[in-house]
Amino acid sequence: MSAFHLAQMNNARLSAPLDDPSMADFVQGVTLMNDLADRSPGFVWRLAGETGDGTIRLPADPRTIFTLSVWESVEHLRAFAYQSAHLDYLRRRREWFVPHGHRDALVMWWLPAGRWPTLRAGISRLGRLWADGPTPDAFTFRQPFPAPVPAV
């Protein structure tokens, strides 16, 4: 087992409240995709919501939802995100989310295996990605960085 795991945080801004009829497919998909993630190869951990609908939100801004999870590798996360039923939900994201513009919505970083990230840490990593572009501390699928080599 590798000494480092991959953490990812993603956020999306909803185009309508979750109880709006236009969001029904998405709301249904959240549970399905959380379940799919849980049994995907390389899945380690994810932050489970307390809202009952499977989403993660901050009280101050209920229109923005988050995912925060840990995977064994970038390739495992890529396989879940883009080579599973999850891709069809990504394809339809404009039905439910406001476009992000030039700022990335997803950030990844490495953390020692066995540790869980916090949402606050994820938001801070996203800020670093926006400020500095992809670096080993905050990167994207399009420009991933390898896991750190543990000191011997």
Binding site: A79, Y82, L87, R91, R94, H102
Partner: protein, 212 residues
């Protein structure tokens, strides 16, 4: 430019007719193939088949692996056979130099940032519908480079993604465009396209319309 000329070297190795047939055989196969199969299919000797296959490997167009084909193991199973499959690297040569891939990347990124995917999907579907495509489904999918492979009488998987590099960079945008394009190509027929992403093949599958 020098990279382009490397690509030209690779592609020039396909100028030989027999070698081109050997490449096509490997490319069309659903699993890695050995020299014996190529020799038999082309009606040439095994040594000549191996010669052409190894030239294609040297040119970077094919990759090799080794496996025992009979399933036997241990002493007496014989040496593992050398098997050939198409290399993942893409080759393109343009004279004079053209950079359509760069243009496509810029367009895809801009479109994603603008959130204009729905427009792209509509355009793709309309182009698919308006295309003068063969009506037989396998012929049609082959003509568009999808390398269709039937999975029973009611379902077809697509072994090649014509937009592979771009789809890896912008999966939702390009796979969505691809689904819309195939949906358009199949419009009015008895087959439908659906998104069914899986590793190692196109994200779209094609199935017989349910009659009920």
């Amino acid at each position: 430019m020098s990279e382009d000329l490397d690509d030209l070297d690779a592609l020039a190795s396909l100028a030989d007719r027999v070698r081109r047939q050997a490449y096509r055989l490997v490319a069309d196969a659903t699993a890695p193939v050995g020299r014996d199969e190529v020799a038999e299919a082309l009606g040439i000797g095994r040594t000549l088949a191996a010669f052409h296959l190894d030239k294609l490997v040297a040119a970077g167009l094919l990759d090799t692996s080794y496996a025992r084909r009979s399933g036997k193991t241990g002493p007496g199973a014989g040496r593992p056979a050398k098997l050939y499959r198409v290399a993942a690297a893409e080759r393109a040569v343009s004279v004079p130099p053209r950079a359509y891939r760069t243009a496509a990347e810029l367009l895809a990124e801009a479109l994603e940032q603008a959130g204009a995917e729905e427009v792209l999907y509509q355009v793709a579907q309309r182009h698919g519908r308006d295309a003068s495509a063969p009506s037989e489904v396998t012929e049609l999918l082959t003509a568009y480079g999808y390398a269709p492979m039937p999975d029973g009488p009611e379902r077809i998987e697509l072994r090649n993604c014509p937009f592979h590099r771009l789809a890896e960079q912008f999966p939702p945008v390009i796979c969505g465009m691809n689904l819309a394009l195939i949906t358009g190509l199949l419009a009015g027929g008895e087959w439908v396209a659906r998104m069914e992403a899986a590793p190692g093949r196109c994200c779209v599958t094609v199935s017989k319309k349910q009659s009920d």
